[in-house]
Amino acid sequence: MIPVLPIILPLLFMVVLIFTRRWLAFQQYFSLLATVVLTLVSVILLLDVQQNGIATLQMGSWPAPYGISLVVDMLSAIMLVTVSFIAIVIMIYSPGFIDKGRQSAGYYPISFGLLMGVNGAFITGDIFNLYVWYEVMLTSSFVLIALGGSAEQLRGSIKYVTINFVASIFFVAGIGILYGLTGTLNMADLAFKIRAAGHIPHMNGALMLFFIAFSVKAGLFPFFFWLPASYHTPPIPITALFAGTLTKVGIYTMFRFYSLFIVENALFWKSFILIIAGLTMTIGVLMAASQFDIRKILSFHIISQVGYMVMGLGLFTVGGISGAIYFMVHNMLSKTNTFLAGGLVYQRSGSYDLKKLGGLYKASPLLALLFFVPAMSLAGIPPLPGFFGKFFLIKGGFEAGDYLITAVAILVGLFTLFSMVKIWNEAYWKKEPEEIKKGKLSRRAIAATGLLAIAVVLLGLFAGPVSELTVEAARQVVLPELYINAVLGL
């Protein structure tokens, strides 16, 4: 029963929020409570999976491969916990930042729609069902990105909607071909059939369609351009929620597909993915260095960091994958945190433009600290989690003997530090400009950012225990037989 809760709880909360849409104060507190409940459920699920192995549930008692299977392995469980924790922080932050008009226009119910889609994508064991969850997630994100309907938002959302629809076409085309080739869409059954058949003609074509679809959603080279063109337009809690969840669902799906379906031509895929990873990292970080809007710098950084996760996938060793999963958790927390800190800067000074900012360190040391922690974490300074994430990945790279990508990863790390220092210098250290606005900071927003910063620090301090979890998750990814047997009950 528990594996289905991460999907039906957000649905239940969404329904409650739809009926109570006139009482804004109730919505604010209920959403917070709801995300806490969701996090507790996810933690229970994580502990359960850690003790008893992969949890499966056959919806409606239709046995696999005929019905829809729900599967929670360590990777899914870790993702569920991280996403629902981020949701708590966003729900604390939102009332202090988003204007009342947007909040009562359905922000809270739609956010739970987004969470339902994300959670569904993490735990489904059926490719078509995965597509449905992607659509649930995207439809909700379409509403959120356009919520309020300012001209800038609409400009951004048109790009966002169009490119995501194109990606969905690739996704469905891939599903169609795959179903025609194998006659099944249950992931475990499909993986089993692929292994039994040895060689399936045209398999690579279908997989390439999937790769394009997911790399659009994840923001990989060369399909990342939509992300910085749209992410900076909505209010910052929405951007932060997107940054913490959406692209990572694309990455998660790539992990799942690579692990289950790539048997033939593994050598081609490995080098292909490593090249894409290297290009994504490098181009993302170079583009970020040339920006002057805080939100745009951070958006380009999402791309660069996604490259690291894909690098771990390309290595496909327990060390590499485990590093990538740890990095993903770190990135979801730290990236959301930098966006939220950027929101505080905006609340204080009324601008995201680095040229117009300055003197914030002197004006508000607390604000500076709240940005400093996640920024240094992203840059990879010990003992923050960014350092351990990169360390695990680079160690994995050396162990696998892929020296070139490892060298690229180290270099890109330096450039990341450069961008973070740039924001720091311009917004915090530079002398305060004369005409700067002196806005009031919301206490809730500060509390939320602080809570997330504490979580980031803890993730770094407890890198050892956390990496034990990620190693277990990586072992399940590298040995897909565990997944297949758990679902099919072999």
């Binding site: 029963m1 039906i8 239940l12 329904v15 739809i18 009926f19 549930l57 919806m59 409606g60 359905g106």
Partner: protein, 137 residues
């Protein structure tokens, strides 16, 4: 623009379309039809009415807002999974009961139908929500 022809047609078509949508909903379990198509028909009935009489008057005649209708639909879909749990089966397992069995009025009702009813309301709610917003512009 007010058209008498459209108004008379809409007044007579609305009850027919609502009944037809319910028929499509009920037969959908084994034959072509179902909650989605039924919901579209229900939505179409009210959109036609709104085209003839305007959105405001239509809203008043429905009494329930499209958003609430969507909410009810989602709730029904969610609730349809629960009877299976009380029976000790897995979530969303179809549970059926038959009324008047053996007679010519045999009526089979089950949780899949309840789920379909949820889809029916959700689709109709979303459709009218979107269309009414566009028509009000």
């Amino acid at each position: 623009m007010e058209s008498v022809i459209l108004q008379i047609a809409a007044r007579h078509m609305r009850p027919l379309l609502v009944i037809l949508s319910l028929v499509v909903l009920y037969r959908g379990h084994n034959e072509p039809g179902g909650g989605f198509i039924g919901g579209l028909m229900l939505g179409a009935a009210y959109i036609l009415y709104a085209m003839a009489f305007g959105v405001e008057k239509t809203q008043k005649s429905i009494r329930i807002s499209p958003v609430a209708l969507t909410g009810i639909g989602l709730l029904l879909a969610l609730v349809s999974g629960l009877p299976a749990l009380m029976e000790g089966h897995l979530f969303m397992t179809g549970e059926w009961t038959t009324f008047f069995s053996g007679s010519s009025f045999e009526l089979k009702l089950g949780t899949p139908l309840l789920f379909d009813l949820g889809v029916y309301f959700t689709v109709a709610g979303m459709l009218t929500l979107v269309m009414f917003s566009i028509m009000e512009e």
